[in-house]
Symmetry: C2
């Protein structure tokens, strides 16, 4: 028997990503979001949603660029902080003890210490109400060699991304492998 929980955003799982931008003064800033995801394969695009009140909002629009820095779970405290503090008041990079790295491809900074980074050119800004959805074309993905396997691919168990659970507001780590995609379903058909 299913129970109605109302009209809300209790979807699971959601990501924990830090959106990087330069503000009007040229100061590097990051804010943490869970409202986002990949939205197209060709061109490769990612979407991140930001409230208009956030310091990041005019910054992304002005430079038509943002980055997505993916923290490993060892950076959960920093990720949580960057979702609460405002770049209008604080130098979040300094407070977190992290380093802003300038992208060569887009006009936005990323978090040097985080193991996975997406550099994005703003394609569209879609006002949905409380949030505006920024759709960015992914110009490059960069990863630390420490999270790559022998074949040069990202090993999720080394990357250890954080998963946010709306409702309980808990951060989770990655669990065990459940199966191989495009494979385990073949016994049913397809």
């Amino acid at each position: 028997m299913k129970k109605s929980l109302g009209a809300n955003t209790l979807a699971q799982p959601t990501p924990v990503w830090l959106v990087g931008s330069y503000d009007a003064a040229g100061k590097p800033n990051v804010m943490t979001i869970a409202w986002g995801g990949i939205c197209c394969s060709k061109p490769p695009c990612v979407t991140v949603s930001v409230r208009k009140e956030r310091h990041t909002y005019p910054a992304v629009l002005a430079r038509k660029a943002f980055t997505v820095s993916v923290p490993s779970e060892t950076y959960a405290r920093q990720a949580d902080y960057a979702g609460m503090a405002s770049g209008a008041k604080a130098d979040k990079f300094a407070a977190m003890g992290l380093t802003p790295a300038k992208s060569d491809l887009v006009d936005a900074p990323y978090v040097q210490e985080f193991p996975l980074v997406l550099e994005c050119k703003l394609l569209q800004a879609i006002d949905l109400g409380a949030h505006t959805q920024f759709i960015g074309e992914i110009m490059d993905v960069k990863a630390d060699e420490s999270v790559l396997n022998a074949e040069g691919h990202i090993d999720p168990a080394k990357l250890r991304p954080i998963i946010f659970a709306p409702g309980s507001s808990l951060y989770y780590g990655l669990g065990e492998i459940v199966g191989k995609a495009f494979s385990i379903g073949k016994e049913i058909g397809g």
Copy 2:
């Protein structure tokens, strides 16, 4: 030292969600997606990306509705199958041994056996290239009582959503709690 992996969709983590719709003949169908996420808090909105070639594409546009059914990891085989097979050829619900439940709120079916369901009214369809992004307003979220805690909230450890890792194409389960959001970052500031 970061290594360039090229312009692609290697973001982590991504969800494993089944998008439900009725086709032109009224047959209930589901397809699995990993390109999606919550995109607005007010109104509550979710985005799912679908290729134009998919059976789901005209179905969502015609009825201006879709559902998102969230499988627990025990349904990983079914979720994998529903991403490979086409509703144009197969009755996927029958093949998976799952039950289409008619939504009372929107003109789309959901997976009765899955523990968490979002019922969505189509707000926008944004053509991005290979994929079209469907933005839906979440009219209701429904959950099985078995995944709720004593306070009536979703317990992610009971829900056990699946996490997809692009690149390795592996499905993962949820791991351990890393910390409480809007809390563990306070020692830094904010």
